[in-house]
C-alpha cells in the first residue's frame, strides 16, 4: 500500500515537473521553427479564437447547408434550406412552411448540391449564398447576414437540377441547368420516343442587386442531353456560360452503357448576354407553366408562396451566334473556368486525359466558322480549333477542378482517389496527393472566382470506410484539408462532414463576420400576430381556431396558465421572444404536438399549431437552456371536453 502511494506521489511529482511551467514550454514551442510548421499547429485554432474562413458545404441528401470553419474543420451551424428541420421548427412553423411549397405541393426534402457565394466584379462579396435543390428543381438564396434561407424559387421544365446553382460575376444571374431532359411542356408520351423530343432547359434566374430577389427571366430549350455541371465565364469570358453535357446519345435506358457510346460529348457555350438582349427586345415565347416562388420577409418573420403561371422560353437556333457546342471527350462532368476566364476545363470522367478549351480560340473558331457539323441546328465547333491543351493521363476518373491565385489548377480523380495539381498553360503535373477515399468535388476559397485565396483546398470524399471510429453501416462523409501555399500540397487534417457535401464555397471570415446579425429588433417586428409586450399577450377564439398571442423572456411565458381550450380545437401559438440580447433564443415544446418544437430568436415571432386530442392539463416548456431558471420556464394548458362551457382565460403569476 505504501509503495503504491509512493509511486502515485512520484508520478504526480513527475507530472507537476512536466506541466507546472506550461507557459514557458509553449513559448519555447513558438521559438522552435520546426514545430511551428507542423500540420497540427496549422489547423489548431486556440479556444476562443476564430477560424480564418467560413466554408459552406452542401448537405447533399440532408437538403441543407452546413457551415464550417477553416482550417479547424469545426461545424458551426446547419442552415435548413430544402428540408424540414425539427431542431428549430423550419418547415414546421406556420411562418416557414410556405418555403417548401412547390408545384407538387409541400415537398419537405431535397438533395442540395452546389453552393455559390454572390460576387461583384468576379470577386466574392459575401452578401448571399445560393444552392440548388436537385430532386424537385429549386434554387435557394440564403442571407449571409442572418444565415437563414430567404428565398426559394422552383425551376419548371427541369428535372434533376444538377448543373446549378452557379452565378455570373456580378450576380446578374443564378443559373440552373437540367440534368434529366424531359418533355417540355410535360405530357403523356412513350419513353422510347425520347430522342429528338425531350428538351434540356437551361434557366437564367435574375438576381435583384439590392434585395437579392430572384426572377426566372428565361429558359433556353436545348437538345435532350444531360446537362451535368456549369460555370460562368469571368473576366474576358464574362457574358458566357459553360455547361458540360453527357448522354449526347439521348438514351433513355441503361445509361451506364448507352450514354457512354460517343467518343465525345459537349461543353455547351452560351452567350447569355446575347440572349438577354434578345429577350429584352421581346424575343422568346411565354409558355404556360406552374412553379412556386417562396419569399421570406425578415420583418414579418413570415414566408409567402406564390404560384407563377408562365415562363419565357428561348429556342437556341432563334438567336444566331448565341449557342455553340465544344466537343469534349467522354462524358465530361465538372466544367470549370480559370480565374482569368481563358480556360474552360472539361473533366471527362471516362477519359484518361483532361481537356482544356481556350476561350480566345473559341471566339476565333466562331468568327471563322470552324464548324464540325451541328446538333439540332446548334453549331459544333471543331475540337482541335478550340483546344488549349491536354493534361496527359494525370489520373483516373477526373471530376472537378479548382484554381489558386498562382496559375495552378487542382483536379480531383474519383477512381484513383487523389488530388492532382497541374500548371495552366504548360499542362504539366506538379504534385499529387491521395484522398480518403474517392473524392468528388474539391474547394479552394474563391476557387471559382477571379480572385482565389490559394491557401487551402478541401477534398470532399464519397467514401469514408475506416477514417474515423466506426459507427455502424451508415457513416458521415469525410473531408480532407490540404495546405496548398507551397509547391507541394500537404495533407493537414481530416474531418467528418454532415450529409453528403457535393460542392462547397468558402470565403475569408473577415468579409462577413462583422456584418452578421445578432438579434431581430422588436421595433422592426411586423409579424401580424406579434405580441411585443406583456400587455399584448392575449387569446382570441375564432370558431375552432384559437390564437394564443404569447411572449417569452428569461424565464417565463406570458400567459403561462391557459384554460378554455377544448378537444377538437386548433391552437395556434404565436410566440414572440422579447429578448433583445445576442444568443438568447427560447424554445417552445408542447406535449403531443404532431410537428416539432419552435426555436425563436430574440425579437422573432414564430407560430406552432397544436391540435389537442385528450382532455387534461398539459404542460409546455422552453427547450433551450436560457438561464438559471430555465427549468422554471413552463406553463399549463387545461383541455376540456368538446362540449365544455369553460370560458377562455389566461394568466401569468396569479
Amino acid at each position: 500500500m505504501k509503495n503504491t502511494f509512493k509511486l502515485m506521489v512520484g508520478l504526480l511529482m513527475a507530472g507537476i515537473v512536466m506541466t507546472s511551467c506550461n507557459n514557458q514550454n509553449s513559448s519555447n514551442n513558438k521559438a522552435n521553427g520546426a514545430l511551428s510548421s507542423s500540420a497540427a499547429e496549422k489547423v489548431y485554432v486556440a479556444p476562443g479564437e476564430h477560424d480564418e474562413y467560413y466554408a459552406f458545404m452542401s448537405g447533399g441528401f440532408s437538403g441543407n447547408l452546413t457551415v464550417y470553419g477553416l482550417p479547424s474543420g469545426r461545424m458551426f451551424k446547419e442552415i435548413p434550406v430544402f428540408s424540414q428541420y425539427p431542431t428549430n421548427g423550419y418547415g414546421y412553423s406556420e411562418e416557414t412552411k410556405p418555403m417548401l411549397e412547390t408545384s407538387f405541393g409541400f415537398v419537405p426534402w431535397d438533395d442540395s448540391h452546389h453552393p455559390d457565394i454572390s460576387q461583384t466584379n468576379g470577386e466574392l462579396d459575401g452578401r448571399w449564398i445560393f444552392i440548388n435543390g436537385n430532386n424537385t428543381p429549386r434554387i435557394a438564396r440564403i442571407s449571409l447576414k442572418t444565415f437563414e434561407t430567404e428565398e426559394i424559387i422552383e425551376v419548371p421544365n427541369s428535372a434533376g437540377n444538377h448543373s446549378s446553382s452557379f452565378i455570373t460575376e456580378n450576380t446578374e444571374y443564378v443559373v440552373a441547368g437540367t440534368r434529366f431532359s424531359v418533355p417540355v411542356p410535360q405530357r403523356d408520351m412513350p419513353i422510347n420516343e425520347y430522342k429528338g423530343n425531350f428538351k434540356g432547359a437551361l434557366s437564367f434566374i435574375s438576381v435583384d442587386p439590392e434585395h437579392g430577389h430572384m426572377d426566372l427571366k428565361f429558359q433556353i430549350l436545348m437538345p435532350g442531353f444531360n446537362y451535368d455541371l456549369s460555370h460562368p465565364g469571368r473576366g474576358k469570358s464574362h457574358g458566357w456560360f459553360f455547361f458540360t453535357t453527357y448522354n449526347s446519345e439521348e438514351a433513355s435506358t441503361l445509361l451506364e452503357v448507352n450514354a457512354s457510346q460517343n467518343d465525345k460529348d459537349f461543353i455547351a457555350a452560351i452567350n447569355w448576354k446575347k440572349i438577354e438582349e434578345y429577350v429584352n427586345n421581346g424575343g422568346g415565347t411565354m409558355m404556360p407553366t406552374n412553379y412556386a416562388h417562396n419569399v421570406y420577409d425578415e420583418h414579418t418573420h413570415t414566408a409567402t408562396s406564390t404560384m407563377k403561371k408562365e415562363v419565357r422560353v428561348v429556342n437556341p437556333t432563334d438567336v444566331p451566334g448565341a449557342v455553340y457546342l465544344l466537343p469534349t471527350p467522354k462524358s465530361p462532368h465538372g466544367c470549370d473556368v480559370d480565374p482569368s476566364g481563358e480556360y474552360i476545363v472539361g473533366n471527362g470522367k471516362l477519359s484518361a486525359n483532361l481537356t482544356v478549351h481556350s476561350f480566345t480560340k473559341m471566339l476565333d473558331a466562331i468568327e471563322n466558322e470552324k464548324f464540325d457539323g451541328d446538333a439540332y441546328g446548334i453549331p459544333i465547333l471543331n475540337f482541335d480549333d478550340v483546344l488549349a491543351g491536354t493534361v496527359e493521363q494525370p489520373g483516373l476518373g477526373p471530376l472537378h477542378t479548382e484554381f489558386d491565385d498562382q496559375g495552378n489548377a487542382y483536379t480531383t480523380f474519383f477512381i484513383s482517389s487523389e488530388v492532382v495539381k497541374w500548371k495552366l498553360g504548360s499542362w504539366e503535373v506538379i504534385d499529387r496527393k491521395p484522398t480518403y477515399y474517392s473524392v468528388g468535388h474539391l474547394m479552394i476559397p474563391g476557387g471559382n472566382s477571379r480572385k482565389p485565396f490559394g491557401k487551402y483546398v478541401v477534398a470532399m470524399n464519397k467514401i469514408t470506410k475506416d477514417r474515423y471510429l466506426p459507427t455502424g453501416p451508415e457513416l458521415e462523409h469525410s473531408a480532407q484539408l490540404y495546405d496548398i501555399s507551397g509547391e507541394k500540397m500537404e495533407l493537414l487534417y481530416d474531418f467528418p462532414t454532415h450529409g453528403e457535401p457535393h460542392y462547397a464555397a468558402a470565403i475569408p471570415a473577415s468579409i462577413i463576420k462583422d456584418k452578421t446579425q445578432k438579434i431581430y429588433k422588436l421595433a422592426e417586428n411586423q409579424h401580424p400576430r406579434k405580441a411585443l409586450s406583456d400587455s399584448d399577450a392575449k387569446i382570441v377564439r375564432d370558431g375552432k381556431n384559437v390564437h394564443v398571442y404569447m411572449t417569452m423572456i428569461r424565464s417565463h411565458f406570458s400567459p403561462d396558465n391557459i384554460e378554455g381550450i377544448k378537444v377538437g380545437d386548433k391552437v395556434f401559438f404565436h410566440i414572440t421572444n422579447l429578448e433583445q440580447d445576442f444568443d438568447v433564443p427560447h424554445g417552445f415544446a408542447m406535449i403531443g404536438a404532431n410537428n416539432a418544437e419552435l426555436l425563436i430568436m430574440p425579437g422573432q415571432t414564430r407560430t406552432l399549431t397544436w391540435e389537442p386530442k385528450q382532455v387534461g392539463v398539459w404542460p409546455f416548456y422552453c427547450t433551450d437552456f436560457c438561464s438559471a431558471l430555465h427549468q422554471e420556464m413552463q406553463g399549463y394548458i387545461r383541455v376540456s371536453p368538446a362540449d365544455s362551457d369553460i370560458e377562455l382565460s389566461w394568466s401569468l403569476g396569479e
Binding site: S20, L522, H556, D581, A628
Partner: protein, 168 residues
C-alpha cells in the same frame, strides 16, 4: 508516511522552484484573499439588520458600466419621461411592474435608493453588473437568480427610462 511527507515537501519545493516567476503573483493573490474575509465580516455585521439588497440605500455607488455621470435637472422633462414610459412598456414590463415586485423589483422610488448612474448601468450593462457590482450581485440572488436581461437599449433610451422612473 514520513517519506511521503518528504516527497510532498519536495514536490512543493519543486513547484516553487519551477515557477519562480509566478511567486510574486501568488502572493498578490494571497493578499487579495486575505482581504476577502474582512469583507465577509462586514457583511456578517450587516446581516443582523436583514435589509435585502432591494431595500438598501446606496446613493454613492455608480455601478459598473458606460455611465459615469448623470446630471438630473430639478424639473422632470415630461417629453423624455413619456418616451421612457414607452420604452419601459416595450422592453421591461415582461419582468418589471411599476406597482409591485414581479420577476424583478419595481422601479418605483428607485432614485431614493440608487444613484442615477447605477440605474442606467444596470439597464445598459447587466451582465457585468451582476458579476462585479456588489449590490447587483446580491439582487440577482434575492430575485432567485433571475437574470436582468440586456435589452440592448441605447444610452438615450436608458436615460429616458430613468426620467420615467422619476415620475413614478
Amino acid at each position: 508516511m514520513k517519506s511521503t511527507l518528504k516527497l510532498l515537501t519536495l514536490i512543493l519545493a519543486l513547484m516553487v522552484f519551477n515557477c519562480g516567476g509566478k511567486e510574486e503573483k501568488k502572493k498578490e493573490g494571497f493578499s487579495y484573499q486575505q482581504k476577502a474575509p474582512t469583507e465577509q465580516t462586514q457583511k456578517k455585521e450587516a446581516a443582523p439588520e436583514k435589509v435585502p439588497a432591494s431595500k438598501r440605500v446606496d446613493l454613492s455607488n455608480k455601478g459598473v458600466g458606460p455611465i459615469t455621470s448623470v446630471a438630473l435637472d430639478s424639473n422632470i422633462d415630461q417629453a423624455m419621461a413619456d418616451k421612457g414610459a414607452d420604452v419601459f412598456k416595450k422592453m421591461c414590463t415582461a419582468c418589471h411592474r411599476t406597482e409591485k415586485k414581479f420577476i424583478g423589483p419595481s422601479p418605483k422610488d428607485i432614485l431614493d435608493r440608487r444613484s442615477p448612474e447605477w440605474v442606467m448601468n444596470m439597464i445598459l450593462n447587466p451582465e457585468e453588473m451582476v458579476q462585479k457590482d456588489p449590490l447587483a450581485k446580491e439582487l440577482l440572488i434575492e430575485f432567485n437568480g433571475s437574470p436582468m436581461a440586456n435589452q440592448n437599449l441605447t444610452e438615450e433610451e436608458a436615460r429616458a427610462v430613468l426620467e420615467y422612473f422619476r415620475t413614478l
